[in-house]
Symmetry: C2
Subunit: 154 residues, 2 copies
DNA sequence: CGCTTGCTTGGAGTGCACTCCAAGGTTCTA
DNA sequence: TAGAACCTTGGAGTGCACTCCAAGCAAGCG
């Protein structure tokens, strides 16, 4: 059996919620500017991701222009999510390498995902702590505001 | 009345949970290396915070060495929390300026805190979305792992 | 006293994640 | 078939948040 999540290639994307504005598989050849519109990334950033190995080598038209597939968009979605967690780009590149290397890296990928999951949980907890501090300060300011208002009306 | 949260100075800290390893008010004069130990920041960063206006001017010993107070530590705690939210240092400097400018900036501070609160909530939501994606992939990998194991045992 | 360790300053350097540039080829619309 | 809009590359530049450096003063100890 194979550990790949999709059949044909070495990419690693498992079907999430269906994406908007996509063309059906088979006619999925997007120019870089279409991908810019779909992802919110800049063309610069897309080329840079490819250069540093965060993307697989993107398919080209007969004249050398990039043609992205639905699979590439899925990968970019995952990268976007991981970026939100604060994961360094270098770590994402590492993950991309593992995917390219094939099935035998599957345990390492699994561990990496679990570690990332723990990081995200910790991050959410930190933010909840910060939220508590903010709420305390906000209610202080609200009280101070009410006190000022009642003083003014006296 | 005054909108200051503490009596004597223009700092802006409302009593959170009591802090560990602090000296009682009145004997609160910490060297920079003590503050390093208490906050986890580097001395470089502490001096830099002061230079860019993120800290009030720190009290000095008769020979010009910094002596931090409990109030300074409270402020650093708040800065630490805000930093966790991803708030740019420039925005924190802006908040510090508002505090220094006095009571008449209180509405603006209030708004800034509320905006930050919304940002934190949005950030937590993003992270929850990422968590869902990670969990989906993790359970995929776990299933693949079980499949491999049962194949091996056949 | 000498020694070590700690603190001071302004300014320069670092690492990350983009972001932009110049010069030229490609694709689309009129 | 002309013009506008889009795409290509390697390499250089940017902004942020630190991070470090050199040169020198300060403090505690035997």
């Amino acid at each position: 059996m194979t550990v790949m999540e999709t059949t044909a290639t070495g990419t690693d994307t498992c079907a999430g919620p269906p994406q908007q504005n996509r063309r059906p598989d088979g006619q999925d050849r997007y120019t870089i500017s279409e991908v810019v519109a779909l992802t919110g990334l800049t063309a610069h950033t897309l080329r840079w991701y490819e250069r540093i190995g965060l993307m697989p080598h993107i398919d080209r038209s007969h004249t050398g222009q990039r043609r992205y597939t639905n699979r590439d968009l899925d990968w970019l979605d995952l990268v976007g999510k991981l970026r939100l967690t604060g994961m360094p780009v270098a770590d994402m590149v590492r993950y991309a390498e593992l995917v390219r290397e094939g099935d035998h890296t599957y345990v390492e990928r699994f561990e990496l995902l679990k570690t990332t999951r723990e990081d995200v949980l910790a991050r959410i907890d930190e933010l909840r702590g910060t939220l508590a501090v903010l709420d305390r300060k906000i209610s202080f300011y609200a009280d101070a505001g009410r006190a000022l208002a009642s003083e003014r009306s006296r």
